[in-house]
C-alpha cells in the first residue's frame, strides 16, 4: 500500500477536530461556572490575591490608613504562630497592594510600621497611636 501524504494530512485534520471537540464541554462548563459564579473569590476584583491569603481586611485598611507617599516596613511576628506559607507570602502581598507606598526592609528608614502577628510595643520604635488593621495586623506612624 502506497503512503498518501494527502490522506495523512486529512487524518491529522480529523484527529485535530476530534481532539478539539472533546475539550469543548470542559471549556463551556468552566466558562458557564465562572460567568454565573457569585462567590467571593470571583467577585473580589482587585483583591483577588488577598482573598486566598485571608488578609483582605488588613490590606484594605492599610491602603486607607497609610498615605500614598508613605515609606513603610512590615514586622512579622509569631503571636499566634504564622505558617511558613504565610511567612513567605504576607510581605510581598502587602507590598503589591500598598504601591505606590514604598516599602523599605530597614526599620530606621520607615515612616510607618505594619505589624503582623506582632505586638507594636515590642517593635522598638516610638509612636503615639496604634491603628488596628484587622485581626492579624496593626499599623502606626513612627514619631522621631
Amino acid at each position: 500500500m502506497r503512503f498518501s501524504l494527502g490522506g495523512f494530512a486529512a487524518g491529522v485534520a480529523v484527529i485535530a477536530l476530534i481532539g478539539a471537540a472533546a475539550e469543548v464541554p470542559t471549556a463551556v462548563r468552566a466558562a458557564h461556572a465562572a460567568f454565573t459564579a457569585r462567590g467571593e473569590s470571583w467577585n473580589s476584583g482587585e483583591y483577588g490575591p488577598s482573598v486566598a491569603w485571608e488578609t483582605t481586611e488588613e490590606v484594605q485598611n492599610a491602603i486607607k490608613t497609610l498615605p500614598p507617599n508613605a515609606v513603610y516596613t512590615i514586622v512579622l511576628g509569631n503571636q499566634p504562630p504564622l505558617s511558613s506559607f504565610e511567612q513567605t507570602g504576607i510581605l510581598p502581598l502587602f507590598r503589591y497592594f500598598l504601591l505606590p507606598r514604598r516599602y523599605t526592609p530597614r526599620l530606621r528608614d520607615a515612616q510607618w510600621v505594619i505589624t503582623y502577628h506582632h505586638s507594636s510595643e515590642t517593635v522598638g520604635v516610638p509612636y503615639k497611636k496604634e491603628i488596628p488593621l484587622g485581626p492579624d495586623g496593626n499599623t502606626f506612624k513612627v514619631t522621631r
Binding site: 485534520a13 478539539a20 482587585e46 507570602g89 510581598p92 505606590p100
Partner: protein, 479 residues
C-alpha cells in the same frame, strides 16, 4: 470601572493602529482580517520601544509617551515603505470539496467556541491570584506606572522577585494602566484573553494565503482548546505570551525560507525581539530558533541567505538590558543556576537524579492528554511523515524542539531549588512553548509538504487564478 474598560479598548485600538501602519509599510494591503497580526506587530514594537525607553530613563509608557512612540513608528514606516512595494496577499481560495469545506467550517466553529468560552470565563474574573503575578510581574508594572521608570529605590522595579527579568511585560502592562487611568489589575485576565484571541487571528492572517483551511482551522482549534492553552488564556503570567511571540516568529521565519519576502524577516525580528525582552525562556528559545533557521537558510540558499542574519538582532537586543543591570548593580543571572555548571561534569553527575526526576515529568506535561490533548503525538508523527518531502524544515523543527526541551530540562538538572517543588511549579508552564509553537507550525509544514508531493496546488498559483482581480482592485483604490 467603565472608564477603565474604555481605556483598555483605546489602548488595544492604538496598538492595532500602530501595527496596521507597520503592515502597510511592509506592503500589506490593510484588511480587517489582519487585526490580530496588526495588534501583535504593534504590541511587540511598542513594548520593545517602551522597554528601551525605560532603560534610558524615558518613560514612554504614559499615554502621551505611547502616542509619541506611535507617531515615531509611523514616521519610520513612511521611510520603510520605500523598500516594500505593496503586494497582494489574498487568502487561499475556499476548498471546492464539500467534505473538506465541512472540516474547515467545523474547525473554525470549534475555534470560535473555544475563544468565546474563554471570553466568558475571563470577563468576571478577579485579579489573577497566582504567586508570580502579584509577587513578581504586576508589582514591577505598578512600580513603572507609579514611579515613571525603572526605579531602583524603595519599592522600585528592581526590588521584586527576579529583578534581572527584562521589562517588556511590566512596560506594556504599565502602558495599559495609563490608558485605563489606574492600576486596574482585575481587567488584565480579560485583556490576556483578548490577546490570546488576537494571537489566533494573527496566525490565521499569516498562514491563510499558504495553508488549506481544512488543515489550518482544525489544528488551530486543537491548540486553542488544549487544556494547557485554554486554561492559561486568562492568566497574567507571561509564559504563554513568550510562546505567542516565538510561534509568530517561527511562522515568519518558515515563510521567509519558502517565499524569500523580506517583510517576514522584519515581522519575525519584531516578534522574537519581544520574546527576548519578555522572559529568559523567550531569549533562549528564540536564540535557538534563530540559529536553526540560519543553518537551514545557509544550507539551502548560501549567499542569498544573508538577509536572514537580521533575525539575529532579536536575541542580541537583550544585551542593552544586561548593560542596564550591571550599571545598576543588579545580579544579571538567576541565582539558582549558572549555565557554566553544565560543563562541570562532577556537578552534573552528582545532580543527575534531578534530571531523572524532571525528564519524565516534563514528557508527561507534553504527552499526557490532560495537558495538550492529541497535539504532541500528532506533531511527532507528522514530522516523521513529512520528513521525506520537507527534509530541512522537518529536521530544523525537530532539532529546535529537542534542543528547547533539553535546554529547559537542563535548568532543572543544574538548578539548586527543590526539584520536586520546582518542576511541579514551573515545568508545565515553560515547556508549554514547545507544543504551542509546534502546533502553530504543523498546518504550515503539512501544507508545504503537500505542495511538494503534488497532492495540493502551490498556494501562489491558486490565488492568482482565483482572487487577484479583487486584490488589484483594492490596491488601485488604495493608491
Amino acid at each position: 470601572m467603565t472608564h477603565a474598560y474604555l481605556g483598555l479598548a483605546a489602548f488595544d485600538v492604538t496598538v492595532a493602529a500602530v501595527g496596521y501602519v507597520l503592515l502597510w509599510a511592509l506592503g500589506f494591503v490593510p484588511r480587517v482580517r489582519q487585526v490580530g497580526l496588526a495588534f501583535f506587530a504593534g504590541w511587540a514594537l511598542l513594548g520593545v520601544l517602551a522597554s528601551y525607553g525605560l532603560m534610558v530613563d524615558i518613560d514612554a509608557t504614559t499615554v502621551p509617551g505611547t502616542l509619541v512612540l506611535a507617531v515615531a513608528v509611523g514616521a519610520a514606516c513612511v521611510f520603510l515603505r520605500r523598500f516594500f512595494p505593496a503586494e497582494p496577499r489574498p487568502w487561499r481560495a475556499p476548498d471546492r470539496d464539500v467534505l473538506l469545506r465541512g472540516v474547515s467550517f467545523a474547525g473554525l466553529g470549534l475555534l470560535v467556541v473555544g475563544l468565546v468560552a474563554a471570553f466568558f470565563f475571563a470577563v468576571r474574573q478577579a485579579a489573577d491570584p497566582r504567586w508570580d503575578v502579584w509577587a513578581v510581574w504586576l508589582p514591577k508594572a505598578k512600580a513603572i506606572y507609579f514611579f515613571h521608570g525603572l526605579s531602583t529605590g524603595f519599592g522600585g522595579f528592581t526590588t521584586y522577585g527576579n529583578p534581572d527579568y527584562p521589562p517588556f511585560i511590566p512596560a506594556v502592562v504599565a502602558q495599559s494602566f495609563h490608558f485605563m487611568g489606574g492600576a486596574h489589575t482585575a481587567l488584565l485576565p480579560l485583556q490576556e484573553t483578548i490577546i490570546g484571541a488576537l494571537w489566533a487571528a494573527a496566525v490565521v492572517a499569516l498562514l491563510a494565503h499558504r495553508v488549506q483551511r481544512w488543515l489550518l482551522y482544525p489544528v488551530l482549534a486543537l491548540v486553542v482548546l488544549a487544556p494547557d492553552f485554554w486554561t492559561r488564556l486568562a492568566t497574567v503570567l507571561p509564559d504563554q505570551t513568550v510562546a505567542y511571540f516565538i510561534a509568530l516568529g517561527a511562522v515568519c521565519a518558515v515563510l521567509w525560507l519558502e517565499e524569500q519576502r523580506h517583510l517576514y524577516l522584519v515581522l519575525g525580528t519584531v516578534f522574537l525581539s519581544a520574546a527576548a525582552l519578555t522572559k529568559d525562556e523567550g531569549f533562549s528559545l528564540g536564540a535557538v530558533l534563530v540559529a536553526v533557521v540560519l543553518v537551514v537558510a545557509f544550507v539551502q540558499r548560501r549567499r542569498r541567505a544573508l538577509p536572514a542574519l537580521s533575525l539575529a538582532i532579536a536575541p542580541a537586543l537583550i544585551e542593552p538590558w544586561h548593560l542596564w543591570l550591571s550599571a545598576h548593580h543588579v545580579t544579571a543571572k538567576a541565582e539558582h543556576y549558572r549555565w557554566s555548571w553544565l560543563f562541570d561534569f562532577n556537578y552534573l553527575s552528582r545532580k543527575y537524579w534531578r534530571f531523572e526526576y524532571a525528564l519524565p515529568k516534563m514528557l508527561g506535561f507534553l504527552f499526557y492528554g490532560g495537558h495538550w490533548s492529541f497535539l504532541c503525538p500528532l506533531v511527532v508523527v507528522s514530522l516523521v511523515a513529512i520528513a521525506w518531502r520537507l527534509r530541512a524544515l522537518a529536521a530544523a523543527v525537530a532539532l529546535w524542539l529537542v534542543l528547547g526541551f533539553f535546554g529547559l530540562a537542563a535548568v532543572y538538572w543544574i538548578g539548586t531549588y527543590n526539584v520536586y517543588w520546582y518542576v511541579g511549579y514551573s515545568a508545565h508552564r515553560v515547556v508549554a512553548t514547545l507544543p504551542l509553537v509546534a502546533g502553530t507550525l504543523l498546518p504550515l509544514l503539512l501544507s508545504l509538504a503537500l505542495e511538494r508531493s503534488g497532492d495540493a496546488a502551490p498556494a501562489a498559483e491558486v490565488v492568482r487564478e482565483r482572487d487577484l482581480g479583487e486584490e488589484h482592485a483594492a490596491l488601485a483604490a488604495a493608491h
